[in-house]
């Protein structure tokens, strides 16, 4: 997907379509029992947040994500093959198959890690912001998380620190209205999270995630501020098209709610805008979609064919390679029993 500077919407469309197609393929992987792990959280419906914010990031910037982070990492430039392999628990994956869907990271792209603890990755960007400030890196660290995480105390602590120390940090709350089955108004009285940021001295803003261009513009503004030491919270509203995880059929949502929510589709909106505002034809976009589908099919094939990690690999990376390593149980038993 080549970048056409004068046509960013096409790039956004492309990024979003890649995310959606990737997620659709991941869902199939899961259904076929090939994904490692019982937990799989799709970001379908949230592509506008991922594409808009990541496009505003610079190469030196870093980020952490929540458990629903595939889209964000793809938008940042992840290799779908290695992502898919990681989700399948293969050693060709980003994390050698030890992390899986909820724990993808990539040092090269500044991905400091997805996190399965709601709120767990949020303070890490405060630390990264400290580093960047001290090491004069001109970089911003960005934490992505959900609306549910806004009720974790650590987000409040982290925002307070970022403001106090004028850190190059941005907090991005992807507000899909739900934390599992809990609707936002069942989690808090005040869903306008910008107020919380402001009450702690950060910039606070909200934007509609259906409009990827608006997300991008807002993110760019706030990132400029963050880079200059004015941290911010950006809330991007959207709708989680499917269940919390793949097993969740969302019985707590009405059909009407689901239908209207799914109409808030950033990809459909971008497509319509492209057709209206640019010379791109439906046929051209369909061709793009098809190319993406092939790319993601290839990722599935890559993941399936990749070998499983060697059992012995489980002892690696608990500590740095140069350091004393854990003693495997079998070795220990051999030692104790053999010596007798």
């Amino acid at each position: 997907m080549s970048a056409e500077a004068n046509l960013p919407l096409r790039d956004f469309y492309c990024t979003m379509r890649r995310i959606r197609t990737f997620e659709e393929r991941v869902a199939e992987l899961y259904v076929r029992g090939l994904s490692a792990g019982s937990m799989l959280h799709l970001s379908i419906g949230e592509e506008g947040a991922a594409a808009g914010v990541c496009a505003a990031m610079r190469p030196q910037d870093s980020f952490t994500t929540h458990h629903r982070g595939h889209g964000i990492f793809l938008a940042r430039g992840a290799d779908p093959n290695r992502m898919m392999a990681e989700i399948a628990g293969k050693s060709a994956g980003y994390c050698a198959g030890k992390g899986g869907s909820m724990h993808i990271a990539d040092r090269a792209l500044g991905h400091l890690g997805a996190n399965a603890i709601v709120g767990g990755g949020i303070p890490h960007v405060v630390g990264a912001g400290l580093s960047y400030k001290r090491l004069r890196k001109n970089a911003v660290a960005i934490a992505f998380f959900g609306d549910g995480a806004m009720q974790q105390g650590i987000v409040h602590e982290s925002m307070n620190m970022a403001a106090l120390w004028d850190l190059p940090v941005m907090f991005v709350c992807i507000n899909n209205q739900y934390g599992m089955g809990t609707r936002i108004d069942q989690a808090t009285r005040v869903a306008d999270f910008a107020q919380r940021a402001i009450a702690l001295g950060l910039a606070g803003a909200s934007v509609d995630g259906e409009d990827v261009e608006a997300v991008f513009a807002r993110a760019q503004d706030l990132l400029d501020g963050a880079r200059a030491g004015r941290p911010a919270l950006l809330t991007v509203s959207c709708f989680r098209f499917f269940g919390h995880g793949r097993m969740d059929k969302s019985p707590y949502r009405s059909n009407e709610e689901e239908d209207s929510g799914r109409r808030r589709d950033p990809i459909a909106a971008a497509r319509a805008a492209l057709l209206e505002r640019t010379p791109l034809t439906a046929a051209a976009l369909d061709a793009l979609d098809a190319a993406i589908a092939r790319e993601m099919d290839a990722a599935i094939a890559f993941a399936e064919q990749a070998p499983a990690p060697a059992l012995q690999a489980m002892f690696d990376d608990v500590y740095a390679p140069s350091e004393p390593q854990p003693e495997p149980l079998a070795t220990r038993l051999d030692r104790i029993l053999a010596e007798r």
Partner: protein
């Protein structure tokens, strides 16, 4: 009442149901416990009977959930706080270990904290390093906290019922891989009292001391050992605070050999306590050192093959016992 096929999950749910019927002061609070019915379905539909005032869906705020349970327990309610995964203890350990566990003591016995923290742990769903831990060792180390870890359907029911009568805080750790386990059970039949271990299989050659999911691994191993002519005794501790050293001791004094089995990482876990205690109390009876078979000292990897290999397998137990007995 007659025996019926019932799952561990259903037994837990039934325990909550029966207890809440009898005791109006019981409330359940936690993430997704109400409308959703619990991440693992244990509180399914209880809200229909007991209403949202007694099945309280909370925001995602583990420290405050446990802290609120502490406050509620001090003021007349008997809360059951659900922590969705035991792995989240790290967020709430202050409220559990510094508050719930110490309030009666620090305040000179004036105020108790009769709450139950229900949670689940362990491997088996390749849920990764942050959703597969066995952290009972942290809890067992803190004076003031009772600790139950049921392995069977009947115990899921009765230990939970019993927890809901105790005057002190109880940590009740279910196992994610047991929820779907079905056993023919008569929930009305009496079981052993709280604090007493169950001998799940009798044998004279070696004692395998364990709890929770590993009871079943031990029983599998015992079956295999039986084929080799070795009679293993399998002891299910059921509760870890208090824990029933008397039963363990009687067994080890008879068999002369003990294996301690736990899914948690070996080092400084519950297996260490059990091994140390058996070693010190049964010293003169031991033919062999007490052998710990426990989880590897690594985070739990997400890859299913690696995950399975990271926790004790029946085959390893069999092999170890045979080496101990030299047959």
């Amino acid at each position: 009442m007659a025996e019926t096929d019932i799952t561990y999950r259903e037994a837990l749910r039934q325990a909550l149901y029966d207890a809440m019927r009898e005791d109006d002061s019981i409330v359940v609070l936690g993430e997704e416990v109400g409308r959703y019915g619990g991440a693992y379905g244990v509180t399914k539909d209880l809200i229909a009977t007991f209403g949202a005032e007694r099945l309280i869906d909370t925001p995602i705020s583990e420290p405050a959930i446990i802290g609120a349970a502490v406050g509620a327990a001090m003021t007349g309610l008997r809360p059951v706080a659900e922590l969705m995964y035991v792995d989240f203890l790290g967020l709430a350990m202050d409220q559990l270990a510094n508050q719930a566990a110490k309030i009666r003591y620090m305040f000179g016995g004036q105020i108790g904290v009769p709450m139950v923290l229900r949670t689940q742990g362990g491997t088996g769903r390749s849920a990764g390093a942050q959703h597969s831990q066995s952290l009972e060792g942290w809890v067992m180390h803190i004076p003031g906290l009772r600790l139950a870890m049921p392995a069977t359907v009947a115990d899921a029911y009765h230990l939970l019922r019993h927890s809901l009568t105790l005057p002190d805080p109880v940590v009740f750790i279910e196992h994610k891989a047991l929820y779907a386990r079905k056993e023919r059970t008569d929930l009305a039949a009496r079981v052993l009292p709280w604090g007493r271990a169950a001998v799940r299989r009798a044998g004279n050659d070696v004692s395998i001391v364990t709890y929770s999911l590993m009871v079943h691994t031990a029983l599998d191993a015992a079956t295999l050992l039986h084929e080799a002519g070795i009679a293993a005794e399998v002891i299910d501790l059921r509760t870890l605070n208090p824990f029933d050293m008397k039963t363990v001791r009687a067994s080890v004094e008879r068999t002369g050999r003990a294996i301690v089995l736990s899914e948690a990482p070996l080092t400084a876990g519950v297996a260490a306590e059990l091994a140390a205690r058996i070693s010190e109390e049964c010293f003169d009876y031991l033919e062999d050192p007490v052998i710990r078979i426990a989880g590897e000292d690594i985070p739990v990897p997400v890859s299913p093959a690696l995950e399975a290999a990271a926790i004790p397998q029946a085959a390893l137990i069999v092999q170890t016992v045979r080496r101990m007995l030299r047959r």
